[in-house]
Symmetry: C2
Subunit: 125 residues, 2 copies
Amino acid sequence: MRRTKQKEAILKVLRGTRSHPTADWIYGEVKKEIPNISLGTVYRNLGLLSQSGEILELELCGTYSRFDGRRDSHYHFRCENCGRVFDVDEPVNEEIDGRIARKTGFRVKYHRLEFRGVCKECQKG
Amino acid sequence: MRRTKQKEAILKVLRGTRSHPTADWIYGEVKKEIPNISLGTVYRNLGLLSQSGEILELELCGTYSRFDGRRDSHYHFRCENCGRVFDVDEPVNEEIDGRIARKTGFRVKYHRLEFRGVCKECQKG
DNA sequence: TTAGGTGCAAAACCTTTGCCATCCC
DNA sequence: GGGATGGCAAAGGTTTTGCACCTAA
């Protein structure tokens, strides 16, 4: 991966905030330093950086939302190869929400836990 | 929320699968029963149903991706009111991935844990 | 009766891509 | 020099919305 001033600037913005910004917000910030940078470049670099592990893309949804008809709380496993989502049969940790609430002062309603990796079928290939 | 045959059909499809489908797949299934249903209706009903808690929308990302400049593994809290994402200072559970891997046969690389609720600032309002 | 729901189509939106110029190694 | 990048703009694909017509309650 080549080092460019655009990439540096994006990284600097990202390291300098704790706000988990969107691509568009990053674009706005970087624009202050490189006025003619394009949004496409921001996206391309975010992709490169997260691919190389230098940054983290939160909640990589695939591209579209998925829905679940189960009403009980449960966890998920997402295969990074085929994109499928499986239910995981692991007891839900009931006490952790309260602990986080006490620690942070936030009102915690519930939590979402998702494992990532490669499903059985994709391991064969 | 009014009961309509479209809503019933969507719910039936969703309850009858374990595949965590996308809106578009659901649309295709429901179309078999109600050929002239529109994709807009599917989206509207999925919204209503998940709002009322009858179904679960996985990975409600807001609409766009968010990025994080931190490289170490950590957890997040997402405020359902203002949409902001915060880091949570809770030690990462290192052993759970192995346990899930043994149990499921999947290769588990890591997990993503996100708490949901209302942040301190939004509680004031 | 009437507020909420539906179909259709267009709009909105975020993200990706093609093309060509430019820059780093 | 030559392949990787950048800028620009158009394309892509999912989701939302406006509007006029229904329909469940």
